[in-house]
Symmetry: C2
Subunit: 469 residues, 2 copies
Amino acid sequence: MASMATVLVKTPNPSHSLAKSINAQLSSNVKFSISLKNPKLNPGKTYQKIRISCGLIEPDGGKLIELFVPEFQKDEKKKEAMLLPRVTLSKIDLEWVHVLSEGWASPLNGFMRESEFLQTLHFNSIRLENGSVVNMSVPIVLTIDDLQKQKIGESTKVALVDSNDNPIAILSNIEIYKHNKEERIARTWGTTAPGLPYVDQAITHSGNWLIGGDLEVIDKIKYYDGLDRFRLSPAELRQEFERRGADAVFAFQLRNPVHNGHALLMTDTRRRLLEMGYQNPILLLHPLGGYTKADDVPLGWRMKQHEKVLEDGVLDPETTVVSIFPSPMHYAGPTEVQWHAKARINAGANFYIVGRDPAGMGHPIEKRDLYDADHGKKVLSMAPGLERLNILPFKVAAYDMTQGKMAFFDPLRPQDFLFISGTKMRTLARNKESPPDGFMCPGGWKVLVEYYDSLVPSGNSKVPEAVAA
Amino acid sequence: MASMATVLVKTPNPSHSLAKSINAQLSSNVKFSISLKNPKLNPGKTYQKIRISCGLIEPDGGKLIELFVPEFQKDEKKKEAMLLPRVTLSKIDLEWVHVLSEGWASPLNGFMRESEFLQTLHFNSIRLENGSVVNMSVPIVLTIDDLQKQKIGESTKVALVDSNDNPIAILSNIEIYKHNKEERIARTWGTTAPGLPYVDQAITHSGNWLIGGDLEVIDKIKYYDGLDRFRLSPAELRQEFERRGADAVFAFQLRNPVHNGHALLMTDTRRRLLEMGYQNPILLLHPLGGYTKADDVPLGWRMKQHEKVLEDGVLDPETTVVSIFPSPMHYAGPTEVQWHAKARINAGANFYIVGRDPAGMGHPIEKRDLYDADHGKKVLSMAPGLERLNILPFKVAAYDMTQGKMAFFDPLRPQDFLFISGTKMRTLARNKESPPDGFMCPGGWKVLVEYYDSLVPSGNSKVPEAVAA
């Protein structure tokens, strides 16, 4: 991954005390507001005042909360963990430990207690002790069953261990409360229909109790899949943005291969930010690395594909940081897109690109999309705690047959545009056919063809649905 | 209803411009905070600072929004309405028109548009143009079907008419948007199980579209059921509280007959408020008057029962205002209790008494309560936009056999207390038996017996469930 290495290798060994120094810098930052007069740059209310700040956006709650045990205490904490009641973490639990440990969910300092859980379900936000409000739309909770609850008994701490019984973390000042699965699902997804991927994977068969508390993570979570070097923490990303002298960071969340429509959108966003007066906008291209449903393209293949896109020069490595966002996917549409945006604030992004039907999927049992395609960006633009974030709605890109490339759809000449659906893409890639020239860089397309080629044909005729056009 | 008349008859003919004058007064009010030192008065964080204000609490958004057509425009508006496309209001729709018209939902100025609807579903609150946040937890929406949508066509206004085609209101600057029933139900109730009363009554068979807009109501909504004089608007209630010189107003929402446990709670609350330093706390005893499920005791019978409670001197008419809250019931537990509290702020209440499982009910298809009994008060105490309201959690009252009366349950001598369940109550009333002396005043009990006596026995053996102990 030569290109990506050049993007990322410049990051010196990051230290976890970085957050503190960034924070100290921020307090002396000069911030000012401008009103944009150009109506082209100012299509909606959201953009009437763009805050240009000589420094990165502050993390939620004012400081980045990292939850690592200091080096000198590690042995002691490991020993302590061995003596505590144990809760074994699932793969998804471990991803949430990763998320919490690095401060993506700042100011959360552990798995949610009931008051945080209830505020998340009902308000998609949490009020802090100082009265300020931070966004929090997706429950970050740990389940235990009746037997585990009984074993924990009166202990105020538990050890969180991996599937090999290695201690990963300690959860202190614990609070155990009821896990009403139906209510959690209904309020998070807006449906209780069977077949929601995250629900099937992590909720339906989970325990009837939730355990919250203060988290102390012994070692940085690693996956040893060759991709750990791309898993930059919010502190490391902030350091990288500072190093590059970014005066704006725009985040692009994705869980699909990048085609030239995406690339057009990202380069166009950079152009708009430059026009707004920013000198050095940096793109955070931020593929999601946690749990995804079975028919999404796996992370490893996606990273290969992204590498090719950078190699082919579709995106400029000088102004792009590619990194992996460790969160699992909920596929909870307007509820989840808030989490995706909020976590990127903590990583230093002050602009967030939002597309059609973000974090959406088909309804599991009805023939329609689960969410209204416009609700994601509407909800995001109104979400409590995200007022500081500038939301950049996605323009629709399609294949312009007159130009032979991806372009923003022009409603005045619809006949010139070709919408290449996910189904169409998949069929082409599976059949080793090529999409129209200019739809995706050839290197990237080749990776996709290889991926589908690698799939063992399954007994039934259901074919993975992979790429949205 | 002699007693109630003495409570209410003192209110002079209220004028709808009252809100303005109250508001003007409020702007010059002196407000100050005290910290309570007595731990008995200060059991939780919520009470650390009680704001004592020389005037009523401000309505949400700063002013009470009444939506009545001025007298001189009524004829003109009626004529205009006759020429507009029509939407026929159901009984529940009409109750919402009532609610909106009097400003219970201030600052809403009509049925919700999509941005208000989405904020309600996702955040239980709405952000105003000035950046402040008001609570709004229950969608106040009007449904139309495909045919009605087609008939409305490009019109920017519709007339809302009653079942006899009489024009009730005009809805202007309308916005028609999709009514995703499943998502609305899931996010409002935290379940999509069949059998939710409001859903069955008002959502399942309703149209696939919602129509929002600015509401202008031609005449005050009346029911001609002998109870209209008890339907005081927020402006009228504020006038009454001002007239009585209230320096605190504590609201008690109810949809059940009042027993002596309730009465104990209300008199004890008054005592606590006096101890806190208030000179003249007034109780707003506020039975809900809109739609209730079939097995609740109907409003007329409840009002008769409340009358007897006042006649028997269980509550002091001098410090009690009995009035009817026109909202329909959702039975949406922690979501709905916020609406119940928010509406009472608009009526001038700055203290709200919240009990066990407020606005709750049994799960429609599982053998358990739909909501955790403690979630209502927890959610209420954390709800955005309700920070100004002082939440008074309900103490558990039960029949103390040693004293022969209702008393606060003492966990040190549980054997002395008798919990009289709703089922027990119903069985007693149906069988014309008496509850233990001191459970309910005899006059009130007699009304209940009469009510159950009046019920025509139905074919199946299901008996209405009426009174919670």
